[in-house]
Each structure stands twice: as C-alpha cells, then as structure tokens.
C-alpha cells in the first residue's frame, strides 16, 4: 500500500449524542492537526444526521466518533450506515470513549475498524490512521 499523504487526508472528529465530555475529542483533533492531517471537529451534541451531513460535505476519509455516555451501540451504527448508504464507502471509522469490551464486536460488525479506550496513546491513533485510511 502506498504511504498516506496526511495533508490530503480529511478527518472528521465528531461528538454524537448528548454527551458533553469533549476533552478527548479536542485533544485528538489537535494532535491529528499537529501531525499534519486536515481536521474538522463537529462540536458537541450532534445528531447522527448532522454528522452524516458533515462527513458528506467535507468528503472525509476518516470519521472518529467520541462517545463517553454509553450510547455507542445506538449511535455508531446509525452514523456508519448513513455515511455508507450516501455513497462514501471507503471511510475509515474509529470509535473512542468509555466502551465496554463486550461491545467491541458489535461496533466492529457495524463497521468501526478500531475501538480506542482510555489510555490509548496519540501515537497509536495516528499510526492507525496512516495504516488504514483510504487512499483516494
């Protein structure tokens, strides 16, 4: 696989649902920007529909969903299927937050490539994107 051109890789960091915990999302958005990616952050309290629209408008390569409220099983599949059915088939989906291990499998089946829990290093997230983001 050819190496990734970070500055042509658009990453959408999104906060779905009512959860207000945005420390992680903002730190990651900033780290990805500092690493050279083009980063768009949705801000808080986004419905799945708002995130789908943002992903389409920005024609993103990567969507990172940050959820610490426990609503991941309801929200993640809705965002992923919405983006895919609108025609963006190759988007890399990452999920981060307080996610119990029992739920990893379900989220992966819904289309999340990786699930990051607290304690994940920025380095690991960056290299995962380098490795897995679509080359368009």
């Amino acid at each position: 696989m050819n190496s990734l051109n970070r500055n042509q890789t658009r990453v959408l960091i999104a906060k779905p649902g009512l959860d207000g915990h945005d420390r992680g999302a903002k730190v990651i958005a900033r780290a990805l920007r500092d690493a050279g990616f083009e980063v768009i952050y949705t801000g808080l309290h986004q419905t799945p529909e708002m995130i789908i629209q943002a992903a389409l408008q920005e024609d993103v390569h990567v969507v990172g969903l940050s959820i610490l409220s426990g609503a991941h099983n309801a929200l993640v599949p809705e965002v992923i299927s919405g983006i895919r059915s609108a025609g963006l088939n190759d988007v890399l989906f990452l999920v981060g937050g307080i996610i119990p291990e029992e739920d990893f499998e379900g989220l992966k089946q819904a289309g999340a490539a990786l699930v990051f829990t607290p304690g994940t290093s920025l380095e690991e997230i960056i290299t995962s994107i380098d490795r897995l983001a679509p080359r368009r």
Partner: protein, 559 residues
Amino acid sequence: MSKHSNDLKESQAAWNQRREQIEKKSPPRDERFTTLSDMDVPLLCTPDDLDKINFDYVRDLGFPGEFPYTRGVQHNMYRGKLWTMRQFAGFASPAETNKRFKMLLERGQTGLSTAFDMPTLMGYDCDSPKALGEVGKCGVSLSSLEDMEELFAGIPLGEVTTSMTINGPAIVILAMYYAMAEKQGVPKDKVRGTLQNDILKEYIAQKEWLFPIAPAVKLVIDTIEYGTLHYPNWNTVSISGYHIREAGATAVQELAFTLADGMAYVEESIKRGIPVDDFAPRLSFFFDVHNDFFEEIAKFRAARRIWSTMMKDRYGAKNPKSWMLRTHAQTAGVSLTAQQPMNNVVRVAIQALAGVLGGVNSLHTNSMDETLALPTDEAVLVALRTQQVIAEESGVANFADPLGGSYLVESLTHRVEQEALGYIKKIDDMGGMIAAVENGYPQAEIANSAYHFQQQLERKEKVMVGVNKYQINEKKRNIDTLYIDRTIEKRQAEKLRTLKQKRDAARVKACLEKVGNDAKSGVNLMPAIIEAVKAYATLQELCDLLRGIYGEYREAGSF
C-alpha cells in the same frame, strides 16, 4: 523565626553545597521535579521559605472554624462529625436507583447523591428522539414528578441530605424535589441537600447546557432567591471545580475558575437585591481530588483562605457562615485507568486521604471500574469502605489540619493561592467571569492544559502506571461491569405515555402558560415551575417552553 534566619541561611547554604557535591556523583533521577499540574517544586522547604512569604500564623492560618479557615471550617473538625460520605449514584430507572440508594444507606453512607442521565441533564424526556440510546446510561432517567417520587420512595427526606447533579434544567428538577418533599410532609426547614446548579462551569467544562448564558444565570439566581426565602437549609448552588479539572485544567486553574464562578453568582445575587449574608451561607463548593498529594492539600487550604477573604473584604459579608468555603470533593475520574483496574483502588485511597487532610466536608470516592462502565455494587462498596478505613482506622481524623505549619505545605498553599489570585485578577480585568466565559477564555486555558498534559504523557514525562509505564498484556480484563440494558428506554417511555394520559391536561396547559408568561416578564420562575411540576408537566415540556423564549446555547467547535 527571623531570629534564627542568619544561622539558618548559613547552614542551609552549606548543606546545599554538600548536596550538590553528592549529586555530582549520583545525579537526581530527573531534570525537573514537578507537580501533576507541572509546577516546579523544591526538594526541601525550611523556615526560610516561610520568611520569604512573610508567613504570619494568626493572619494566614488562624484556628480551625475561624477566619480565614485555612485550617478547616469546623472548630473540632472530624472529631465533631466525620465528613459526609456521599457516593454519587444513578442509573437506569428511578426504581433501580432507589434500590442502590437504599443499599448505600444500609451500608453506612450518610448522604445521597443523584446522577442523572444525559437526556435529563439536557432537558429532554426519555421519549425524545434526542434521547436515543442515552436513557438511563450515565445516570437515572427522570422526566416528571412521578419519576422523582419513585426515586425517593421510602427514603425519609427529612433525615437524609440529598445532592443532585443537575445544571441546565436545575430549576425544574429542584421544583420537583420541593414538590415531592411537600407531599411527604417534610417541613421546609428540614429539607436539606444540595443542587449543583452551577451553569457557568457547564459552558466552561461539562458542556450540558440549555439556554444562552444570561438567561441561564438568571435562573440560577431565581433558585438562590427562592431558596433563601423558603428553604433555609438547602444549598442552592454547588460551585464546581470538579468538571473543570476533569476537562484538563491544572489545580490552580480549577481553583481560580471555580472561585471566579462563585464570585459571579455572588455578584449577580447582590444585583438582584438579596443581602449577601442571606444567601452566601448556602453556597457550597465541589472540587476534584487528583493524584498529586501535596498540591491537592494546598489547593483546599488556599481555597478556604481566598474565599473567606473575598467574602469578607470584597463583598462585605458580616456573617462568618458567609465566609466559610464548605466543600464536597470527589476523587479524580480522569486518573483512573482501564488498564489493570484494581490499581484504581490504590489511587482512590491516596486521593481520598489528600481530601481528608485538606479538610473537605464531604467526599465521594470513585469505584475501580468507572473507566469501563458505571460501577457495580461490589466496586461501590470497596470505594465506600476506603473512606471508612481512612475515617476509622488510619487515625488521621483525630486531627484538625495535621499538615498545617509544614514548611512545604504552607509555601505550596501560598503559591497556589497567589497563582489563583493572578487568574482572578485577569478575569476581573476582562469584566468578570461571565464575560470571560462568553469570550471562551477559561475554555481555551483548559484545552491548552489538557493538550500539554497529553503530550507529557506521550513523552513519558508524566507517568500513568499501567498505561505508559509498567504495562502488561491483559487479554481479558478480570473485572465485572454493570450493564444497562436497552429495555429501560421502552419501559420509561411507556410510563411517561401513561402519565400523560392520566394527568389533568387543562391544568398542565394553564400551568405552562403561567410559566411562559413569567419567563417573558422576568419575575422569579420558581413558584410557577413548582405549580407546573405538581400538575405533572414534564421536564421537556418546561424546558422546550423556555428554549422557545430564551433560545439555545451553541458553542463554536474550536479545538
């Protein structure tokens, strides 16, 4: 002290030379030694450090229970009464949380503390499309007075104190609590507890808001005014640094921004015409207790000294109860690790000890499994027992401010105080905390600190045991977690549908109209909201009505 200072200076200089000689052969482990908040700290403090800050025992410390309260707010501290052991709880339906409350009371907990789910915190009922997947997850789901009645069924409200962590729609939830207490027949002066109700820190850190800042602050002042007149033992606002810290602030930022929020509520209440000594005794605080032992102890001591001085000198309060900073504390959620979760028990114990040595009045200890999910009964029990071991086995509760007078603790307290006052000065220059929050100042400061800390973790300049050092390969985490099943959403929605059918629709409509009219005219909304919740108007009906009048807050998604 100064009479020794020449001798001391000489002998200290000589000791320093000897130490430097030794360090030439075996250098220190690190180039910098810092607190968790990245404050450089000395190896040793001596009376010389106290001379440098012109330390004056009577002025700077005084005695426990007396101005400036550095040594604590009670004369005999924990000998009179231990701190309140108050474990925050709430999940799934009101009935399920009611069971957890009763279990905690049976096990010796002395106060209740309610966690609400995200829809409740944002003013949405359980059947709102916005509540999808969130009902009962992060706390208990509550949409009407009926839910409130279930939540506290069989719990004598006149005998326990209750804390409720709710902010955006706090006025509605408080109205439900007052209405329920009235139904239980509890006299108003026996209704004891605390409403978090600190909306400024929502814009700064926790981000569960409803309305724009000005009307939101107006509602806070409504609850202060109403509580002052009718519920003399209810703590109207719990001015909260916890969320500010958890969002990434340093200890000093936590302290400064929290006190600045408190000052804003004091100033707005005075503007409303409420005499300072009428409302200030019912203000309470809520801080984080993080990992850095001495930094945290210094923070609590500095907090009490700054607040008492502000209340007395700046706001002219005469009643000593107005000067006292009474505080709840919670161990640091962000310090817990999903990796090797049993280690969290140790972290929590150290943090709790710092809180007690810092003289807190009430404490929540986190459970070991909280980075994974809401805590199980067993994990909650260990957390509560941690406090009981500190209280009844360690011996520390025998003493008032046992670290007072320590060269290190006094210099650190002074430093934390001075740096916090520096921030407060800056905020004053911006026109006060409301203006500073509108400009995004504390938000940006916190985001910078959070990023700085994360970078330090990446470079291993800061250590999290089991995360960036001493990792082991954990195949399957050997810990049970609490699982909230999704039938809760349906069960709650069904209950709400039935309620809406059986309540008096005409009465609800009339009550909502009255709330709307009062909101437009700007009078205190509390009486009208109490009447509306008694008619079983729902949380969202009231919040939607007010959103229609006040508008909604939107934050720019900057990072």
